[in-house]
Amino acid sequence: MMAVVFDVLLCALILVVALAAVSGRALFPAVVFFIVYGLLVAIAWVRLDAVDVALAEAAIGAGLTGILLVGATARLRRMEVPEAETGTSAARIATGIGCAMFAAMIGLGLLSLEPRGTGLAPVVAENLAGAGVANPVTAVLLNFRAYDTLLESIVLLVALVGVWSLAEDRHWGGHPGLRQHARTDGVLAAFGRILPPVGLMIGVYIVWTGSKQPGGAFQGGTVLAAVWLLVVMAGLVEAPRSDGRLLRIGLVAGPAIFLAVGFAGALGGTFLGLPAAHAGNLILLIETALALSIVLTLGLLVAGPPQRKAGTEDGA
């Protein structure tokens, strides 16, 4: 009973915060509400026994997306971009009614749905022994449906090429335009010195533990990327030039090794086939390389397009 009450309250809170994020007048509060919303949804995932998803939602859905949106809001504010809204209140009410009806239809459809078959839980359980990892979610991500995950790691890279190509021609190959606020003796710098050893340990732990319990390359990679971004913001290290050869190799290392392992399997008769005897080690290899590429890609996606050439202070 207590559990149901908690769930009802959680759902109500999620809906209220989502409404606040979507319908408020000003941009900045909307973004803040969105971050809170993401964290609440992460709790909902824990309630649904999906701790892996909860980690991903908190780290990527709320955390990194939140940083992106806050950063963009700050930049737009500095450029004094108008926030005024168009549209009459009558139009808004009509839209609201339409959306409510659509949501009601989806909800009714969900409730009336008769699930057929057993779902994939029994099949996953049956084949888990040959998957090389004990965590079923990781087994799906890196073995049963590894092809999806390969394409997913490529999607991140495509987004980064797209972001980079938004640079000005003269800044091509330069550093992304993260502003370094902090004085070297300030609190942020101090935090940036204390955090890396701990953050590194936590991030690596989350990647490594993904084979047995909730965690994995994407979740751990996000933690490491966040640590990296913080250290950059603290002014302790500089965000790398986008034309650095080592950086570029690091960016493609994960997908490339993933692809190589998959193609080696194809030579043996099965595309992306991992022999059961070596599956555990191969997955560890793929996850490690993937985590490295994910850290770099996520960090650079948040950092944005190159905005200044090497040795200059500020571009735009």
């Binding site: 991903a56 859905g61 969900l110």
Partner: protein
């Protein structure tokens, strides 16, 4: 236990459906592109929540990890799209001083053909 999980699945599934509606409202009601992006992410997480809840509906056969894995993939894909969109919005604002599409500006020409 299974009954409790079924109730919970229905509850969070409905919550997901409502979030989809809220997100679509935000997507339609705002012209500011960052607001639309926030709404896009709300719709996305509503769909994921719905997906995760339906994963519990066959819980008698065990917890289904496949929706969870697909949702993690979906979260990463949505983030990629958001990152690209944020970069485009900032660049558009830098070039035109607006974070709206030309046809959404008060008095702007529709269709975007000039």
């Amino acid at each position: 236990m299974i009954e409790l999980l079924a109730t919970r699945a229905a509850l969070f599934g409905l919550c997901g459906a409502a979030l989809i509606g809220i997100g679509i409202y935000g997507f339609v009601a705002h012209a500011h592109l960052l607001r639309r992006l926030v709404a896009f992410n709300v719709i996305g997480s509503g769909i994921f929540l719905l997906f995760g809840a339906t994963g519990l509906r066959r819980v008698a056969f065990g917890a289904d990890p496949v929706p969870q894995a697909l949702i993690i993939t979906g979260i990463v894909v949505a983030f990629s799209a958001t990152a690209l969109a944020v970069a485009m919005i900032t660049r558009l604002a830098m070039l035109s001083g607006e974070a709206r599409l030309p046809e959404e500006r008060p008095g702007g020409a529709p269709g975007g053909e000039r």
